[in-house]
């Protein structure tokens, strides 16, 4: 089990901990504390158990910047887990636009995302699942998002992305990419949004090619409804998501440290 912890305390201090997935502080922007997540070795392999804990104190705003996407490699019968545990105190804000999670042939991954929002807390999260690198049909990822707002269930959604789901018209309908933007604790008005029963909105894009499903434009609007100042600009649309020649997208922000992910 590798554990990474990012905590933003009530007095504005940032507590960072982690070995395989390292957390590095970035300059603040728009009143948000920013922290980058950097993988320091090859991820995700059979037997890997990644756990990322994020905690934001009351009234504080945190943005998490991923420097690279993640590829889950062939696990040859093994399995890996990717657990995310988010706790937001009253009025806290989290912006975490994750980069694509690519599930290569033979990969088998369990992803669990738990988000606990106190009253008035808000979050924007993104999950982009891509089945297969170029020329692959992809492995399997079972992902569950479980969000609670003010001690009541807000969203519980499980999806098993695998080749069988791609060909099922009711599941992915031919898409091998499922892009999801979640707004929790606030609503984003959009013609194609799924407005949750509680205070929250889900937006989904599906397409054959990852970049077609890009919700980058929606993301900026989503950040706008949870944070006082929106993101400077949506990250480069196609490039960041293109799974073609380079499965590892370029840095999404002004982070100049070389990505350490091995190919």
């Amino acid at each position: 089990m590798t554990r990474t912890r990012v905590a933003l305390t009530a007095d504005g201090r940032v507590e960072l901990d982690g070995d395989v997935v390292r957390a590095r502080r970035l300059p603040d922007e728009h009143g948000r504390t920013r922290v980058a997540l950097v993988a320091s070795q090859a991820l995700l392999l059979a037997g890997d158990r990644v756990r990322i804990e994020v905690e934001v104190a009351a009234g504080r705003s945190l943005e998490i910047v991923e420097v690279t996407g993640t590829v889950a490699y062939d696990m040859r019968g093994g399995q890996a887990t990717w657990l995310v545990d988010v706790r937001l105190a009253a009025g806290a804000v989290l912006v975490w636009p994750s980069l694509p999670f690519v599930v290569a042939d033979g990969a088998d991954v369990l992803r669990l995302t738990h988000v606990e929002l106190a009253a008035g807390a808000r979050a924007v999260l993104r999950e982009t699942l891509v089945l297969g690198r170029t020329g692959e049909t992809g492995g399997r990822v079972r992902t569950t998002v479980r969000a609670r707002l003010d001690d009541r269930p807000l969203l519980v959604e499980t999806f098993v992305a695998e080749p069988a789901a791609v060909v099922d018209p009711a599941l992915l309908g031919g898409s091998r990419c499922l892009d999801t933007v979640l707004v929790l604790g606030a609503r984003l008005e959009h013609p194609c949004a799924l407005q949750l029963d509680g205070e929250g909105t889900m937006l989904r894009g599906m397409s054959v090619h990852a970049h077609d499903a890009d919700l980058g434009d929606v993301l900026a609007a989503a950040v706008g409804v949870v944070a006082p100042v929106p993101l400077p600009a949506p990250r480069p649309a196609g490039d960041a998501l293109l799974p073609a020649a380079d499965p590892f997208p370029p840095p999404a922000a002004s982070w100049d440290e070389t990505a350490t992910r091995p190919g």
Binding site: V166, L203, R204
Partner: protein, 255 residues
């Protein structure tokens, strides 16, 4: 009897997601929905309801549109996928509601759990509309047994009402889950007859063939007692279809 289409609950006005799927091109021969280049993109006007290209004509409610080449075999496939996803959620909610109401405990956590697992407002609206019909009937038939189960004016979804009915009528958990599963399959089968020209024997065959899948789904949820454990597997395209369907006026069914 609870799954009988003639029960006065308004269930005949629902298609268990079949009409939204058909309107979105489920049955169109080429290209099948599985081969569309793009779907579900949230840009205005380019939602998942994109019409299938080529082939001419549209599948219209009432089945007066294109007949030739329709792949009606996708209808039972849709029903099977629903059993593994959204219908398992409904059945799980019904089983837990039954369990709680046996002890006359609060059903609100079941409704909350169900709502959190049902991201599409169109799907939630349809389930609540059906729940209202069930509840009206149930309160007339078993007013004492159901006293206090639902606040006046509440709009509980059908599975929660079905579970409470199960508790007061002596159904066991498996029977309640089978009821929900069978009802979904049968709703699709009878709606199919209104949406596309079919021999009723064909849809009866589908229901028979789906029986093992209904039983498997039901068995997988009968042990549930905690709202947190209700299955949560979603079907992304059906949500998109349901939302698009809710916005159109060219429809026979509520959902």
């Amino acid at each position: 009897m609870l799954a009988d289409a003639r029960l006065p609950t308004g269930a005949h006005a629902h298609s268990a997601g079949l009409e939204p799927a058909v309107l979105a091109g489920l049955l169109s021969p080429t290209p099948p929905p599985a081969a569309r280049e793009r779907s579900g993109h949230p840009g205005p006007g380019s939602i998942a309801l994109s019409r299938p290209g080529g082939g001419g004509g549209e599948v219209t409610p009432g089945g007066v549109g294109r007949r030739r080449g329709e792949d009606v075999g996708r209808i039972p496939v849709l029903a099977a996928t629903r059993l593994r996803t959204v219908t398992a959620t409904e059945a799980g909610a019904a089983v837990v509601a039954r369990h709680l109401w046996l002890d006359r405990r609060d059903l609100a956590p079941v409704e909350d759990a169900w709502a959190a697992r049902t991201p599409s407002p169109a799907v939630r609206d349809a389930a609540r509309r059906l729940g209202r019909g069930y509840l009206r009937l149930a309160l007339t038939l078993w007013p004492d047994e159901l006293a206090g189960a639902f606040a006046p004016g509440a709009a509980p979804p059908r599975p929660v009402v079905a579970g409470a009915i199960g508790a007061v009528t002596g159904l066991d958990a498996l029977q309640v889950a089978l009821l929900v599963g069978y009802d979904d399959v049968q709703t699709i089968a009878s709606a199919a007859l209104k949406l596309t020209p079919l021999d009723p024997a064909t849809t009866t065959r589908w229901v028979l063939d789906l029986h093992p899948a209904v039983v498997a789904m039901a068995r997988s949820v009968t042990h549930l007692t905690d709202p947190d454990d209700i299955p949560s597997a979603g079907a992304p395209m059906t949500d998109a279809w349901a939302q698009a369907h809710a916005r159109t006026t060219r429809r026979l069914f509520h959902g």
